[in-house]
């Protein structure tokens, strides 16, 4: 165990800091649920040109073309977090489609889609989940029927973020209805402007429509838009699902949120007493800090494993389950610390932090469920991690 950085890495850190100071007037948050604005696209371009975004993606596809270096990536993440600088776009096109295309896309698909996706010119949404196929994703029913050179796609998707803003969708459809359920699926790309697509906002308990339902009626898509081969969609999608889970439990963002919780408990008072001086509240805060530390050091451990090419084993499997739960608990303590103020949500003189604690509390519950529910994570841990047997399958009803 040795957590010191080599002089090389220290000078890389200085380089990142220097960049962030020099360009602080150009910081622009990347797209969340919206299409990126012009300033955000310029910031993104600056990050790519300097190797702080799309770092390891080949220059031929619009990336920076550096060799993979996990430690440098972490230094970049740490310094951006410390400076409060936006990290560039984190959307599903970049985190899921681009790695998929790099792995299994045709040369034409890579050249056509990767660069505009990285630069925010093409916005994507993801068509995986269906009302009847969430945790059992392979059970999806949206069908693609051959019609000459094309498919005609019909069915419904749900939990589709950014569907209303997206130019394109990467979508799982059933092309071989007779094949076993994992073998009959294809991964296909098509424009959201294609006739026959209807997007309906799906309002959640936060009061916003963070997701959508998407309906397809005879949507005509050329068969050449399939990625990774017809009937191979399940394997193509699985190659990148793990990226989504890793993203969902990232302790970096959690640290920033915990720091905000400490500030809140130091500044909020009830009957003139700071919340931090309430022993019960302080105890809960410290219990969460311990959990945060376990996840932070667990992150360093999995990082070391990936640097040496080893599997992180159990330490990697628990990240999504524990990380998402911790985020939720931090927001829960913040709401309790706010007491009656914690129920406010609409703009007003008493609202704190623009209602973000309440929104996080509700939205994080969604993250605990999404990307593989907590129960699915526990199945993975017990079966792949502990070697317990799968539950026997019952007859199909």
């Amino acid at each position: 165990m040795d957590l010191r950085l080599t002089p090389d890495m220290e000078s890389f850190r200085d380089e990142v800091r220097g960049f962030l100071v020099a360009h602080q007037d150009r910081y622009a948050p990347g797209a969340g649920a919206d299409r990126p604005r012009e300033a955000a696209m310029e910031w993104q371009a600056l990050l790519i040109d300097n190797g702080y975004a799309a770092r390891t993606i080949p220059q031929a596809y619009g990336g920076y073309g550096a060799q993979p270096d996990i430690l440098k990536s972490r230094i970049i993440a740490e310094e951006f977090t410390a400076a409060g600088a936006p990290r560039g776009f984190a959307n599903q096109g970049i985190s899921m489609l681009v790695p998929t295309l790099l792995e299994v896309g045709s040369e034409e698909q890579k050249t056509r889609w990767i660069s505009p996706t990285l630069r925010g010119e093409t916005v994507w949404c993801q068509g995986y989940s269906e009302p009847g196929a969430g945790s059992d994703l392979a059970n999806l029913q949206t069908k693609a029927v051959e019609d000459g050179e094309d498919f005609l796609i019909s069915g419904q998707k749900i939990w589709t973020s950014t569907a209303a803003q997206a130019d394109m969708i990467f979508c799982l459809v059933r092309t071989e209805p007779q094949a076993p359920k994992h073998d009959g699926i294809s991964y296909i790309l098509f424009p959201m402007t294609t006739p026959g697509i209807e997007v309906r906002p799906l309002k959640t308990m936060t009061g916003s429509a963070e997701f959508n339902e998407v309906f397809f009626t005879d949507v005509r898509v050329p068969q050449s838009a399939v990625v990774g081969g017809r009937g191979r969609g399940w394997f193509v999608a699985n190659a990148t699902l793990k990226h989504e889970r890793g993203m969902l439990g990232d302790p970096n963002a959690t640290e920033a949120r915990f720091a905000a919780l400490i500030d809140l408990m130091k500044s909020e008072t009830v009957d003139g007493q700071r919340l931090i001086d309430n022993p019960v509240m302080a105890d809960r805060l410290m219990a969460l800090q311990a959990r945060l530390m376990t996840m932070k050091f667990n992150g360093l451990r999995t990082l070391t494993a990936s640097m040496t090419g080893e599997s992180a084993g159990m330490a990697g499997m628990v990240v999504k389950l524990q990380g998402c739960e911790l985020n939720h608990q931090i927001a829960a303590l913040a709401i309790d610390a706010l007491g009656e103020l914690g129920v406010l949500y609409e703009d007003g003189p008493h609202l704190r932090a623009k209602g973000s604690w309440q929104r996080n509390y509700m939205f994080d519950l969604g993250l605990i469920i999404g990307g593989g529910t907590a129960q699915i994570q526990k199945n993975i841990i017990s079966e792949r991690g502990l070697g317990l047997p799968r539950e026997p399958k019952l007859a199909v009803v």
């Binding site: 957590l3 219990a287 996840m295 050091f297 360093l300 524990q322 317990l388």
Partner: protein, 360 residues
């Protein structure tokens, strides 16, 4: 940057586990637990051959000169084996001498401690966990008076490091006049504690005040957390093995999602703890600024997680879990004692908040 154990560390931990499998088998532990006069001399002899008593003592005094992380890894192996030895004094007494002993005290005691010829115990419970039942030791004119409770390994130790109510440390020889020792039998019969009574007992002062005591406390917290980590590992292994073997309703119970999820929850809680314990051990020597806070969190958090695991692994075993037959209760009780020694979680978390200046 490297957040992993070295090959040497892994090998040494495995090697100690093999030594313990022979010298401190479950049968041997059972015998120790059933006989209050058993001092475990054979187990101590095997550990002495291994070099354990000298783990943190520098090589010039005949020790191995290793770090607290190494000691924590040994502690983890001892917890796995529910070994009937009090390890805390083995590490904390040499640390006290290193941090606050005179050259003379060091050269007198460290070689004997390193060779295992003498054993030591540390009486700091009142100063760290708080005084109960009127306990507490006061110093006056080179003499100690009062009581110290909950001293692991204190019954037979040749050398005692004692904290007084002001946080100053003193060195007391086991045979000193006016010192009496009584057994304190707790739930964990694998480690017996002592109640020490001092009636104007001659003591040598150690230099350094509360800062040295804080270092001993931090090291103690890390060792207890590591012991708990090892014990938890075993409880999960036993639960998983049982779930793969035990059949009900025509299936092994480990194929039921209800049971699988209990096992997964235990593993998910424990695995990140391993990283915290490693870091807490590492920070003691390599990052002293963070050391107290991570040690506190390791102690408190492992205490919480271990209670959950002790309870859950017992439940996975069904009725067999609460019997004496499987011996699961030895680990259950081991973590039960670790939880309370040197402060329960709430007290330790209150200290953690103070350390950061969050509370007064």
């Amino acid at each position: 940057m490297d957040f992993s154990l070295t090959e040497d560390q892994r090998m040494m931990q495995e090697s100690l586990s093999r030594t313990l499998a022979e010298a401190a088998s479950l049968d041997r532990v059972r015998k120790f637990a059933g006989d209050p006069t058993d001092r475990g001399a054979d187990v101590w002899a095997a550990l002495t051959d291994f070099g354990l008593p000298g783990i943190v003592i520098s090589e010039e005094y005949g020790g191995l000169g290793l770090t607290l992380l190494d000691a924590a890894l040994m502690s983890e192996a001892l917890g796995r084996a529910v070994a009937p030895v009090p390890f805390m004094g083995t590490v904390l007494a040499p640390l006290a001498l290193r941090l606050a002993g005179s050259a003379e005290q060091q050269s007198k005691w460290l070689p004997k401690l390193a060779s295992g010829e003498v054993t030591a115990a540390v009486a700091i419970s009142e100063a760290v966990a708080g005084a109960r039942d009127g306990a507490g030791v006061t110093a006056s004119g080179g003499k100690l008076s009062g009581k110290a409770l909950f001293v692991p390994g204190g019954l037979g130790a040749d050398l005692l490091i004692v904290a007084d109510t002001g946080g100053a440390l003193h060195l007391v020889e086991g045979g000193a006049a006016g010192l009496t020792r009584e057994i304190m039998t707790g739930i964990d019969l694998t480690r017996r504690m002592a109640e020490l009574t001092f009636d104007k007992v001659a003591a040598e002062p150690l230099t350094g005040g509360k800062d040295v005591l804080a270092r001993l406390r931090d090291a103690g917290w890390v060792l207890l957390a590591a012991d708990t980590l090892g014990a938890c590992d075993v409880m999960i292994e036993k639960a998983v093995a049982y779930a793969k073997e035990r059949k009900q309703f025509g299936r092994v119970i480990g194929s039921f999602q209800a049971v699988k999820h209990l096992c997964a929850e235990m593993a998910a809680e424990l695995e990140p703890c391993r990283s915290l314990v490693w870091y807490a051990g590492y920070a003691f020597d390599a990052a002293p600024d963070e050391s107290s806070l991570v040690a506190a969190h390791a102690k408190a958090h492992l205490s919480e997680v271990s209670r959950f695991i002790a309870r859950t692994s017992t439940e996975v075993h069904g009725g067999m879990g609460i019997t004496d037959l499987l011996g699961l209760h030895f680990w259950f009780k081991r973590v039960g004692l670790n939880r309370q020694l040197l402060g329960g979680p709430e007290r330790v978390r209150a200290l953690a908040a103070q350390m950061q200046g969050l509370t007064a």
